[in-house]
């Protein structure tokens, strides 16, 4: 009897579940004080179970979440990639300026391929802001996009309120015409809906075992359909 192997040995170390990193970069500047930061905290708290359900539906993908806050400085709120099933929320506080450039730099560094082990799905990066960057956003944006993983990421921006730097958010998304636009959250219900959608829909789209020529366009169409403005109340 011939005992020679006829297929390659599958050492457990060779195979791996893919990882999906989700990074939330959240504006906690002074203008977010009051109802906005309360709504943001509520939105994330209520989005977590939905995100966990989406992840549970695709057990072949390991969803890892990190959260960064930016005010006068940018710093990690959840620094170590947290498995989504263990995710718990501690409320953010608002105050200070809008160091969005520093925030993007930190996100880019954290997603550098050299710092990620194992097989990665393109990450999901959500940036939510209600104002204009107060640091050097041009140089930060160039650094941010120099990371290969960032360039391939699904990038979602949420514009909170009516006095937002939409141009910067569009540069962050960097999508061809007809694709994703910044989501507009002009009141508390809109913000809750936007955060829920931004944290769950791209994760669902990315972690499902589908490849298609139009994933980003489909996501953009869904965002337009699902995120109809809730009311005429405007922050």
């Amino acid at each position: 009897m011939n005992d020679r192997p006829v297929t390659p040995a599958l050492d457990a170390a060779l195979l791996s579940r893919r990882q999906l990193h989700v990074v939330l970069a959240l504006d906690c500047s002074g203008s977010m004080r009051g109802e906005r930061i309360a709504s943001l905290n509520y939105a994330i708290r209520s989005a977590i179970p939905e995100l966990q359900a989406v992840a549970a539906d695709n057990p072949e993908v390991r969803v890892l979440v990190r959260v960064l806050r930016f005010g006068t400085v940018a710093r990690w709120h959840i620094e170590e990639p947290c498995p989504v099933e263990e995710l718990e929320w501690e409320d953010l506080q608002a105050g200070g300026e809008t160091a969005m450039g520093s925030a993007l730099r930190l996100v880019g560094e954290a997603l550098d391929p050299a710092r990620l082990e194992g097989r990665q799905l393109p990450p999901v990066i959500v940036l939510a802001s209600d104002g204009y960057p107060t640091d050097d956003i041009d140089r930060a944006m160039a650094d941010f996009f120099s990371h290969e993983t960032v360039a391939k990421a699904t990038r979602i921006a949420i514009a909170i309120g009516s006095n937002t730097d939409l141009e910067t958010l569009e540069r962050f998304i960097d999508a061809p015409e007809g694709r994703l636009k910044p989501l507009r959250a002009n009141n508390a219900p809109d913000l809750v809906k936007s955060i829920k959608w931004a944290t769950t829909a791209p994760v669902k789209a990315t972690s499902s075992p589908t490849n298609a020529p139009d994933n980003a366009s489909a996501l953009a169409a869904e965002s337009t359909r699902v995120l109809e403005p809730d009311s005429s109340v405007v922050w």
Binding site: L15, R17, T154, T206, A216
Partner: protein, 254 residues
């Protein structure tokens, strides 16, 4: 120039995530001549997109491997037709899809059939590598080297080029090798859908497995056993990795 005789093998398994959703295997494959060695060969895999918009992609992938077989049937008689190959292939796939649509219309039309396609074909004098969209194509050489003829597409996220795109032919990568002009010649070819490579921890681990397949196929007699073991091997790969449908084909002339 010695006469090369090629044998081929292939298999496909349903991914765990498709099983959970009661979806069919949306991959398709073709490997000819099989275990009876022949002087020419074709291995092809196609990966149907699987999302709700592409709900007939299992048919689309099947039509893709059939279209490449038909397009290449006479290609090596006139390899100079390479520039028209992609257009011909796409036109043939579209024709098959439209025939299917006529029999059972659907709202999404051609888009419902979206699929990728990866293939290697060879005759005595030539070898053709062809790829549209994601998936893996590797060639093995007598010195043990394993090489990819094509660079990865520069697309965002899990996007891929597809036969269902109007301008699909533009994105078909193809490379024709002429044995008379080559300093070395592949003795092994491997194609797979992305459900296989994405199950491995990284590209290096995947390439080592492909190299291992080349080594194992050195003994042409064991290929039959490999064919029998392939579905089980693929199942283990996808169950512990991507959860996607997993399909591979190999060709060897060793």
């Amino acid at each position: 120039m010695n006469h090369l005789m090629w044998k081929t093998a292939g298999a496909s398994v349903l991914g765990a995530s498709h099983k959970r959703r009661n979806l069919p295997n949306q991959d398709a494959w073709l490997a000819e001549p099989g275990l009876d060695a022949g002087s020419s060969f074709l291995i092809a895999v196609a990966d149907g997109h699987g999302s709700p918009r592409h709900h007939r992609s299992d048919t689309g992938s099947l039509l893709a491997v059939q279209a490449v077989k038909e397009t290449l049937a006479w290609f090596f008689d006139d390899p100079e037709s390479l520039p028209e190959l992609a257009e011909d292939l796409h036109a043939l796939w579209l024709q098959s899809v439209r025939e299917d649509l006529q029999a059972r219309p659907c709202e999404e039309g051609v888009v419902a059939y979206g699929s990728t396609l990866v293939a290697v074909a060879g005759s005595g004098k030539h070898l053709l590598a062809l790829q549209l969209g994601d998936g893996d194509l590797l060639l093995g050489y007598p010195d043990g080297a394993i090489e990819r003829p094509f660079a990865e597409d520069d697309l965002v996220g899990e996007e891929t080029y597809s036969l269902c795109m109007d301008n699909a032919a533009r994105f078909v990568k193809r490379r024709l090798y002429n044995r008379e002009q080559a300093s070395r010649w592949p003795d092994f070819a491997f194609v797979s859908t992305d459900g296989v490579s994405k199950s491995f921890v990284d590209g290096e681990a995947f390439a080592s497995v492909v190299a291992n397949y080349r080594d194992l196929s050195a003994d042409g007699n064991s290929l039959k056993s490999t064919v029998e073991a392939l579905p089980g091997w693929l199942r283990e790969v996808t169950d512990n990795g991507s959860g996607d449908d997993a399909t591979l084909c190999i060709a060897t002339c060793r």
